[in-house]
C-alpha cells in the first residue's frame, strides 16, 4: 500500500497523481491522505500553481475541468475517486470513460460535481453584504459578508463577485478562507470565526419589508421554497426569520380576501388620454 500525502489542493493532487501514474501504481494500492486542514498550507500558494516538470499524461480536457471542480468537494474520498478515473482513462483503455453516463464512477463524480456547482451558485445567491463604512482616502464604500459554504468554493466563487462589485470594497468571510476585493486585487486570507463579521445593516429593515410585501399568501408553496432555499442557508439570510409568520398568517389573509364584498365599478375620470383611447376603439364615436 502506498500512502499519498497531499495538501487539499488540485495542484498537490495532480503532482502526486503524475508520479503514481508514472510508476504504474494502481488506484486500489493508494491511500490518499489529506494533510492537516490548516489553511496556512495553501494560503500562500497562487492559483493555479506553477507547472510541474514530470511529463504530463495526456488526459481529455473534460477531465481536468471536472477535476478542478471536484477538488473543491468536501468529501476526502474525492482524491481517490479522481485517481481511479484517471487510471481507467490512461491505463485501463477507457479513454471515452467520461462519456459513459451509466458508469458508477462517472455517475458519482457527476453528482459531486453538481453538488459543488450548485453550492457555488448558492453562494452567489445567498451572500449578504453589510455596509461597514467608507474608505476615507478613496471614498469607496466597504462591505463585509459572512457565509458558510459546504465545499471549499471560495476561490471558485470569488471571480463572480469581482466582476459584479468592482466599484465597492468587499470581503467575504468564511470559516475556511476569506476573499477580499479592494478595487485592484482579489486576494485570499485564512478563515475566521463568525464573530469577525458585522451582525447587521440598517438597510435590512427595508429588505425585509420588501420580502414581506412581495409574497402572495394565496399561492403558498412552502415545499418549493425550501427546495430552492434549503433551511441550512436561513441562518445567514436577514429575511428568513419572517418566513414562519408569513406562512402562519397566509390562511387568514386569503380567507379575508375571499370574504370581502366586491366593489362597484367607478366611472372613468375626465382625462384626455382615456378619451383618445375610447375614440381609437370606437372610431364611429
Amino acid at each position: 500500500m502506498h500512502t499519498a500525502h497531499i495538501k487539499p489542493t488540485l495542484e498537490s493532487w495532480r503532482e502526486e497523481a503524475r508520479t503514481l501514474l508514472a510508476r504504474g501504481v494502481p488506484p486500489d494500492a493508494v491511500l490518499w491522505c489529506q494533510a492537516g486542514d490548516e489553511p496556512s498550507l495553501f494560503q500562500a500558494e497562487s492559483f493555479p500553481s506553477p507547472a510541474v516538470d514530470s511529463p504530463a499524461p495526456r488526459v481529455p480536457a473534460a477531465f481536468m475541468d471536472l477535476a478542478r471542480t471536484l477538488a473543491a468537494h468536501a468529501d476526502e474520498r474525492r482524491w481517490g475517486l479522481l485517481y481511479r478515473l484517471l487510471w481507467r482513462i490512461t491505463h485501463g483503455g477507457e479513454r471515452a470513460l467520461l462519456s459513459v453516463p451509466t458508469d458508477a464512477d462517472v455517475r458519482l463524480v457527476e453528482q459531486w460535481r453538481k453538488s459543488v456547482s450548485r453550492e457555488i451558485h448558492k453562494m452567489h445567491a445567498f451572500v449578504r453584504f453589510r455596509l461597514t463604512g467608507r474608505d476615507e482616502a478613496t471614498g469607496r464604500e466597504q462591505f463585509v459578508a459572512w457565509f458558510e459554504p459546504e465545499h471549499r468554493i471560495v476561490r471558485l466563487a470569488a471571480p463572480f463577485f469581482e466582476r459584479r462589485f468592482a466599484g465597492m470594497d468587499w470581503s467575504i468571510l468564511t470559516p475556511e478562507e476569506c476573499a477580499h476585493w479592494d478595487g485592484e486585487r482579489l486576494h485570499f486570507t485564512p478563515g475566521v470565526p463568525r464573530s469577525a463579521a458585522p451582525s447587521e445593516d440598517a438597510l435590512e429593515k427595508l429588505w425585509r419589508t420588501y420580502f414581506k410585501s412581495i409574497f402572495n399568501p394565496a399561492r403558498l408553496k412552502v415545499k418549493m421554497m425550501q427546495q430552492e432555499m434549503p433551511k441550512k442557508y436561513w441562518k445567514n439570510l436577514p429575511e428568513a426569520p419572517l418566513i414562519p409568520e408569513l406562512i402562519a398568517e397566509s390562511g387568514d389573509r386569503v380567507r379575508n380576501m375571499l370574504a370581502t364584498e366586491e366593489l362597484e365599478v367607478k366611472p372613468a375620470p375626465q382625462n384626455a388620454y382615456l378619451e383618445s383611447l375610447r375614440r381609437k376603439d370606437n372610431p364611429e364615436l
Partner: protein, 428 residues
C-alpha cells in the same frame, strides 16, 4: 409617507406579475468602472418567498395610481387601495442599496398609468436612465412598457433596459373588452412587432463587420397572460402563446394564475388561484418547445383543456398507446423524448451511453429515471412491458394522484401544517 410604507404598497402592487427572469442579458460587468453590476450569466434567485417564487429583482411599481380599470388588478381606478408614488431618485437609491448588498439582480420597474401612456413611460425611463448614466449601473433592468406609448419612447426604454415587456393579459379581445376595457390585443401585438424589429435590427448591426458597436438595446421581450380570469380554454392560451413565440420571438410568456386580491371587483369575483392549471400550461409549453410536440397534439378540439391530474406528455402517451413501447437501445431521439418520465437530459445521456453498451434497467436506475413511470412504455435489453399493461384500462388509474391532493379549495379548515400546503401547491 415614509419610504418603508411606500415600498410596502408598491411592492404589494407589483407582486401579481409573474415574471422574474434575469437571464439572457448581454454580457457586461462593472470591472474598470466606479459602479456595480453584471449580467449575462444564468439568472440568480437571491431569495424565495413562501409562495415558492424566485426573488431575483426589485419588482415594484413607480406608482399604483392608475387610470385604467382592469378588473383583476388591485391597482385599477375602481379599487380603494391606498395610493403611493416613488420619486425616480427613491427607486434609484433603493435599487443600488439592495444591489450592493447582493439582495437582487436588478430592477423590474412597472407603473400604473397616470396622465397618459407617454407621461408614465417617461417617468419609468428616467429611473433607468439615471441608473445607467449617473450611477454606471450594469445590473439587470427590466422595464414594463405600455403598448399605447409612442414608439420613440418604447425604443428609448429599450436602450436602457436588458428586457422590456408588454403584457398581453388575456388571449382574446373578448376577454379584454370585458375585463380590461382600456386594453387592446391588436395594439399590444403591434407594439410587440415594433420591439421585435428593433431587437433584430440591433443584432444585425452587431454582426456587420467593421461597423462601430451599435448602442445597447434590450436583448429580449416577454409577456404575461392571465389564467383563470376569463373563459379562455387551455387551447386558447397555448395557441396564443405559440403565436406570440413565433410571431414576436418572445423570450418568455408567463402564465399568471388569477389570484385573489384585496378589493375584488363586482365584474370579476375572486376565486382560489388555479395553481395546477398554471403548472400544466407551463408543462404544455415545455412539451411544445423542448419535446417537439405541436400544440394541436396536446390540446385538441374535443379536449381543449389539459388534464389537471396528469402531465401533458403522460396524458398524450396514454391517448397514443399504439406508439409504444419504445426501444431504449434503438428508438430515435424524437421517439425517446416522447416517453413519459424521460427528460431531454436523460434522453441525451441514454443516446451517449448506448453507443458503448446495450442498456438494461439497472443503467436507467443509475440515471435516476423514474422507473414506475417509464416501465410500461419502454423496452430494454432485459425488459419488455406486458402487452396487457400497455393496453389495459388500469394504466391511467395507476398514474392518477391520490384524490385528496386534487382538491384546491382554499376555504376549508385552517391550514394544518404541511399537508394543507401540499394541497394548495398543486405539486402532484
Amino acid at each position: 409617507m415614509d419610504l418603508q410604507r411606500k415600498l410596502e404598497i408598491l411592492a404589494d402592487a407589483a407582486k401579481y406579475d409573474a415574471s422574474c427572469a434575469s437571464s439572457g442579458a448581454a454580457r457586461k460587468d462593472s470591472r474598470g468602472s466606479r459602479g456595480v453590476g453584471s449580467t449575462g450569466g444564468v439568472g440568480i434567485c437571491h431569495s424565495y418567498a413562501p409562495d415558492g417564487r424566485c426573488i431575483s429583482l426589485l419588482k415594484i411599481l413607480l406608482t399604483n395610481a392608475c387610470l385604467y380599470d382592469c378588473h383583476y388588478c388591485i391597482n385599477r381606478r375602481s379599487s380603494n387601495v391606498q395610493r403611493a408614488r416613488f420619486t425616480p431618485d427613491e427607486v434609484v437609491q433603493l435599487t443600488l442599496d439592495f444591489y450592493k448588498r447582493n439582495y437582487i439582480e436588478g430592477l423590474f420597474l412597472s407603473s400604473g398609468i397616470v396622465q397618459s401612456a407617454d407621461h408614465t413611460m417617461e417617468q419609468v425611463i428616467e429611473v433607468a436612465r439615471k441608473l445607467r448614466e449617473e450611477h454606471h449601473f450594469r445590473g439587470y433592468i427590466h422595464l414594463k412598457t405600455i403598448p399605447e406609448a409612442s414608439p420613440a419612447l418604447i425604443e428609448r426604454a429599450g436602450r436602457f433596459a436588458d428586457r422590456i415587456s408588454l403584457n398581453i393579459e388575456l388571449p382574446t379581445q373578448t376577454g379584454l373588452t370585458r375585463l380590461a376595457p382600456e386594453k387592446n390585443l391588436a395594439r399590444t401585438q403591434e407594439a410587440m412587432g415594433h420591439i421585435r424589429g428593433k431587437i433584430e435590427e440591433r443584432l444585425a448591426d452587431k454582426r456587420k463587420p467593421d461597423a462601430p458597436k451599435p448602442p445597447p438595446f434590450a436583448t429580449g421581450q416577454s409577456t404575461q397572460m392571465l389564467v383563470g380570469a376569463d373563459e379562455s380554454t387551455d387551447a386558447d392560451i397555448l395557441q396564443r402563446a405559440d403565436a406570440l413565440y413565433t410571431g414576436y420571438r418572445l423570450r418568455r410568456v408567463y402564465y399568471s394564475g388569477f389570484s385573489p386580491i384585496p378589493e375584488p371587483s363586482k365584474v370579476l369575483p375572486i376565486k382560489p388561484p388555479p395553481l395546477v392549471r398554471e403548472h400544466r400550461l407551463y408543462q404544455g409549453r415545455l412539451a411544445a418547445a423542448l419535446l417537439r410536440f405541436q400544440v394541436s397534439e396536446i390540446v385538441t378540439p374535443d379536449a381543449p383543456h389539459l388534464d389537471l391530474a396528469l402531465d401533458p406528455k403522460l396524458s398524450w402517451a396514454l391517448r397514443n398507446r399504439a406508439q409504444f413501447p419504445a426501444d431504449i437501445n434503438r428508438a430515435p431521439r424524437e421517439a425517446l423524448l416522447r416517453v413519459p418520465g424521460l427528460g431531454v437530459r436523460n434522453v441525451d445521456r441514454i443516446l451517449a451511453a448506448r453507443r458503448h453498451c446495450r442498456l438494461r434497467l439497472g443503467d436507467l436506475l443509475r440515471l435516476r429515471v423514474p422507473m414506475k413511470k417509464v416501465l410500461p412504455f419502454i423496452i430494454t435489453a432485459d425488459h419488455t412491458p406486458a402487452r396487457l399493461d400497455l393496453d389495459g384500462d388500469t394504466l391511467r388509474q395507476r398514474f392518477l394522484p391520490p384524490l385528496q391532493q386534487m382538491e384546491l379549495s382554499l376555504d376549508g379548515p385552517p391550514p394544518s401544517a404541511a399537508d394543507n400546503a401540499s394541497v394548495r401547491t398543486g405539486e402532484l
